[in-house]
Amino acid sequence: MITMQIDGHKITAREDQTVLDAALENGIDIPRLCHHPDLTPSGGCRLCNVEVVGSNKMQPSCTMEVSDGLEVITESEGLYDHRHSIIDLLVSDHPLDCVTCEKSGTCELQRYAYKYGISETSLDFELGREEKVDDNPMFLRDHPYCILCGRCVRVCNEVVGADAIQFGDRGFDSYVATQFDVPMGDSSCVFCGSCVQVCPTAALTHKSRIGKGREWEFDRVETICGYCGVGCRIEFAVNTEGAEPDIAYAQGTPNAPTGRFLCSKGRYGWDYAKNKERLTTPLVRKDLAYELGLTDTPWQMPETSPLSAKNTAEYFVPVDWDTAMGIITDKLTQAVREAGPGAVAGLSSARCTNEDNYLFQKLMRATIGTNNVDHCARLCHASTVAGLAAAFGSGAMTNSIGEVRDADCIFITGSNTSEAHPVIGYEVNRAVQSGATLIVCDPRHIPLAEKATIHLQSAPGTDIHVFLAMLHVMIRDELADMEFVRERTEDFESLEKSVTAMDPETAAEVSGVPAADIERAARLYALGLRQDGDSRYGGGVEGRGDSERGRSSILYAMGITQRSNGTELVKTLANLAMLGGHMGKASTGVNPLRGQANVQGACDLGALPNVYPGYQKVTDAASRAKFAEAWGSEALDEQAGLTIVEMMRAAEAGDVKAMFFMGENPMISDPNIGHVEKALRSLDFLAAVDIFLSETCQLAQVVLPATSFLEKEGTFTNTERRVQALTPVLQGPGDARPDWRIVAELGRRLAAALGTPQEQWDYSSPEQIMKEISSVAPIYGGMDYGRLGTKGLVWPCPDAEHPGTPILHVGEFRRGKGKFHAVPPRLSSEQPDEEYPYVLTTGRMLYHFHTGTMTRKSKGLSWKQKRGYVEVNEQDAEALGIADGKAVVIESRRGQIRARARVGATVPSGVVFVPFHFKEAAANLLTQDENLDPDAKIPELKACAVKVTNPAQKKQTVKEQ
């Protein structure tokens, strides 16, 4: 700490602070325009200039470092005149039509013009930039209002990493430009709107807010984003003057644990909530309605697949809640009575709250009496839960999101972070910008590979060879943290033996990754080296670290888990982290990035067939007894229930007769959806709760309308195990109800019908449900709505005083010692062959989410990406005669789809990639539901064999014949 004086006040400041930061921290406000707390200082606006005692020059306080004994003056006549001159200059180049300006009230130039009493310029008025650019549905660029502070440019480069904008031209003619002045949609812009958020004037404006009111007229509601697992806190500006609240725009909040910036989905992907296709009333399918006498016309369910069916709303008739609930109660009761509780299965949802999920699994277990409950985590991180639990004793992110930016080395594998978890991508970008090394291991040249120190572009399914060789090198070259290995782990010897044969040359031969790259990656990761060869924490820098090596963090996602050897791959990543000693410290760890807003919570709350809330095993008698008592049940199911893919097989086999889905759309998200459709059609009864009539709902007999995350209360647990509270922003449409109310009502009715205690279903609020959760799930023991605030609480949080646990395994692993696992190098289950010579890999893309039910109904997002596509390598495209943008047919042993080709170098030769969001080109018609991972039962969605053909060429050939 240093001591200095500001305006005669003695203050202390940290050595790395600027004068401006120190002043602000001490409550001294200095006028400023180009400064932004999340961005590097620019020093361009000159407004924050201060006087330094003993020097005759003014200095911008935003770039000036503090030093011992420094004395600065922030207000003086000279400074007043100087600042007056700056504002005078700026308003000579800025329209002063504040009375109609959308930013009036939050415009920072307006604020200072007011402060310095400048109603018009004393100079000649002249605009340097006159163009207003309206080239996308998300935001307007109104150049005349731009004061060239550069915040937008910096946030785009420093935080987002999109590098879409830069200053064009120079001097008075400067303006913020895209590369070569292309329209924004053709630039590298990712439409995250961060530039709009940081813009101090009306130069950048969200189009959604235009005409919706003045800034001071909006209500501000903060809630948690409902898309991916990052769990961003969003502040919605809401116009409440109309009949119903109306969102003007969304922005990040400075006090959010995941930072103040959002991605395109969080920023612009909320307009689906007002889509006219939202479900507003319970529906009964016409065949059942006729059977029950609700309609007079007989009707038969068409054979058309929901993927291509049209006007499907006509399949149903609207009914009231009482009727709908009555039908479901009767049908499920009938199934239980006729075939036993095991004939019923339910899919809960990673898109619903903790409270919704808790009630759902309680319904299945306590009231219906089966463990047949699962949700889409089965298809994403089941192998993480299994693998990390085996290695560490707990299957979740070991560290928190905010730590990523301070890592020395980041190792990303099987995660297209900047598209699937964009806000974590920002953290990675910030780390790299500040000098961290980035190792990317991925068959695709994902956007972050562009920023990577090394891209280990392994052939699909061969990453295991690369990891094993990295372990080999770490041991061979004595890069391992043997002190950590000795003190904190067990079974090192079996690991050592298992990797002896996998030298980098052998791995190179199989994976195609140069041996030298593997060696370099092993070294960077093991020692935690930055780009300059040093490490921030190296040498035990005072107050920062305790270790001589730097901090390395592993981030991974579906590219690791959706594999037939997913659990083994996860264990291998755990081996790497333990061998490097990168566990139990800030900015280290093994960090599975979870894909949905509450997939962590849905797992935590027991929406899995083998565990109760808090990962207490259903096969454990003590746990069973505990929950039986808590739920007032006589006995609970002793066997682990069916997983998703097993449920579908059982349904097809007739063992499962009735199913109940809450917010899941397996008709798009599950592997081999041809098979899923067959299974669902063969059920006696299917009921589904959703916000839209999804492809899955179309196969249900009863559909219930739910509220979306924007319309409900409850909590989400994000990927870093942080429990955060939702606040309703909008009203639900029509008769839509929150899921917890639907489940509770159904619970009450089923309990009555099946003779279990009805009082177990007396819930009046999500808060009350959380109280019950905290009493039965020790990791949530200290969770209480009153404690969540704006930062939430990170589990394990066992009691009301516990502050939460952002970093796991500090000092001791949850299982005691960390366990090394010897893992064999196994390849993907379905290898390409002569008939199916290409490897298909699937995944997400930036602008859409999961099955597209929300994002494809968002105006901005669907404008940016309307249709599905298939990425084809340029060499393959040439060989196949496929042109960019032209149709391609992809066929596997299970089905075929048609999509437009995106020809390029993102995928290597021999590999094609299809995003799975688009029903018209549904990737999961092709994927396999055989060859599940033996431990986690996860299907191998990341690799199957396909053939790729050019339909135009086929026609040609036919003609020629």
Partner: protein, 546 residues
């Protein structure tokens, strides 16, 4: 037969653009045709400096100085002089008004010059490392690496009193000491060759005429501060300098004077070129470093200074071409020798590009402390056509005007600043009685407005505001309060701008008001700038063929 006759052909950009390359080739072919290729060595050298008279061909040992030579003249030079030994009177230089031919140092343009930095320009073939070595090149580096500690090098520079020739005159040894003191393992040496002042071409001529002197100095800097990598940031508009630097780097690496383990000392140093894309502001050191990093070249607030936190955040010595080119001589001849040249506060010599309304426009090197009168009237040969001297602009677009009454001031860093101008990189543009100072001010100011990066408010908008006011005066539409407005906005810019470009950008306007206020006042009554647009024309024409 030993080669005792040398025929030197100027290969600087100015002479090359007047076809000196053909002259060189003609002489070579014609000598060969006459069987004299063995007895006369034809050398294409760097710039002779006397650009007004180019293309120049010099014959040694006769010291014959042929001027304005054309390719058609070569046959005569070859046949008469090189074969028969008879000077070609018609082409030999005569002082204006003189009857007889002047040779070598008799030429008054050269008489008062002291060539330290330009020691090899016009003497050696810049494309031959052997010729550089033959004139003592790389001796300094050898001595530094074998006999001198870093501290001894610094002490020598301190004794020499060498100050940065890029304009600010910061003591070079101090800059190097900051970088040496930094504890980072990676450091850099950067040569600023982004010469951009209108009319200035000192650095270009040095790089074209003696590229190895800069490479040698960079290696010395690298050794002294602990850097193993150097970058030369050179404007892409200098293709000949780039070509010669590339060749020089290749040649030096080939014989181990750059690269790994130089002179077996364990010291390694590499130099790479980076090209500027035509932005004047990239001559500002922080903008230059941004540009090398691949970013838009915009200045960054100092401190921290590059010496401590420069390229990619690492300590970086950044010196101008002329500063570097003088260093090898300081090492070989000693700091004391250098300190004896020049004035007390500004030791050594300075290269100026003398242009504008002057008889002998060209590149000159003089000891600091020489008076402007000596430069303009002796070396420069006075004003053409018998016109009266009006002012000289020093410091390029960042500097100011110096009028007749100050012509006897000995010039150095401090005195020029005292006169409201600055040394700058060494442009010196002479204006005569025909030039309108409003138009001259408008020209320079507009240059600065065009070249402003636009990052900081005072420079971006203030400059444009002054420009508009000057345009108004130029059209005779100025208002009485506008003079004060120029001064007010000018002061905003001086106090408030981020970098040197912005803080000095209003200088031409302010200086013209200080010295020629009457022209502004007169323009308001006559309705036009005095003497039409002559000033702007003078300023535009100042760079000879460059």
């Amino acid at each position: 037969m030993a080669q005792s006759v040398f025929c030197l052909v100027c290969g600087g950009t100015a002479c090359e653009s007047s076809d000196s390359d053909t002259i060189y080739k003609n002489i070579k072919t014609q000598l060969a045709g006459r069987g004299f290729e063995e007895s006369v060595q034809v050398v294409k050298t760097g710039c002779f400096g006397f650009c007004e008279q180019g293309p120049i061909v010099k014959v040694l040992p006769d010291e014959s100085f042929y001027v304005q030579v054309t390719p058609e003249d070569t046959e005569e030079i070859v046949d008469e002089h090189l074969v028969k030994g008879r000077e070609v009177q018609r082409l030999a230089y005569k002082e204006p008004g003189a009857e007889t031919i002047s040779r070598g140092h008799q030429i008054s343009f050269y008489q008062k010059q002291v060539r330290v930095v330009l020691r090899n320009c016009g003497f050696i073939d810049p494309e031959s490392i052997d010729e550089y070595i033959g004139r003592g090149g790389y001796e300094a580096l050898g001595r530094v690496l074998s006999d001198m500690s870093a501290d001894e090098v610094l002490a020598e520079l301190e004794t020499a009193g060498l100050r940065g020739r890029g304009g600010a005159g910061f003591p070079t040894h101090k800059k190097w000491r900051f970088t040496k003191a930094a504890t980072d393992t990676q450091k850099y040496v950067v040569c600023n060759a982004d010469e951009g002042d209108p009319g200035a071409y000192m650095d270009r001529s040095i790089l074209e005429g003696d590229p190895h002197s800069v490479l040698e100095a960079m290696a010395i800097a690298g050794y002294t501060v602990g850097a193993d990598q150097g970058y030369i940031y050179i404007r892409a508009e200098y293709p000949l300098a780039i070509e010669r630097l590339q060749m020089a780097i290749r040649d030096a690496e080939a014989i181990g004077l750059l690269g790994d383990n130089i002179f077996d000392s364990g010291f390694s140093f590499r130099v790479e070129l980076r090209y500027g894309a035509g932005a004047f502001v990239c001559g500002e050191e922080t903008a230059l470093l941004k540009s090398i990093e691949g970013d838009r070249g915009t200045p960054v607030q100092r401190p921290p200074y590059p010496a401590v936190k420069g390229l990619w955040g690492k300590p970086t010595v950044i010196n101008n071409v002329e500063t570097l080119a003088g260093i090898p001589v300081i090492i070989t001849k000693g700091g004391e020798w250098y300190a004896r040249l020049g004035s007390e506060t500004s030791p050594g010599t300075k290269v100026f590009a003398l242009t504008g309304k002057i008889n002998n426009s060209g590149l000159i090197e003089v000891p600091m402390g020489m008076t402007l009168r000596d430069i303009v009237f002796n070396i420069g040969g006075g004003i053409p056509d018998g016109k009266a001297f009006k002012a000289v602009q020093t410091g390029g677009p960042s500097g100011g005007m110096i009028t007749e009454e100050y012509l006897d001031t000995p010039i150095d860093f401090e005195t020029l600043q005292g006169l409201g101008s600055m040394m700058g990189s060494g442009g010196m543009i002479v204006m005569d009685e025909d030039d309108s100072m409003i138009d001259v001010a408008k020209f320079y100011l507009s240059f600065n407005v065009d070249e402003s990066c636009g990052k900081c408010v005072p420079c971006r908008i203030g400059g444009r505001q002054i420009q508009k006011l000057l345009e108004r005066f130029s059209k005779g539409q100025g208002r009485p309060e506008d003079i004060e407005r120029i001064e007010t906005i000018g002061n905003w810019m001086k106090q408030g701008s981020l970098c040197g470009l912005g803080t000095t950008a209003p200088n031409p306007a302010l200086s013209s008001i200080t010295h020629f206020r009457h022209e502004y006042e007169a323009s308001m009554s006559t309705g036009a700038a005095e003497e039409g647009a002559g000033g702007e024309q003078a300023a535009k024409n100042e760079a000879p063929a460059g």
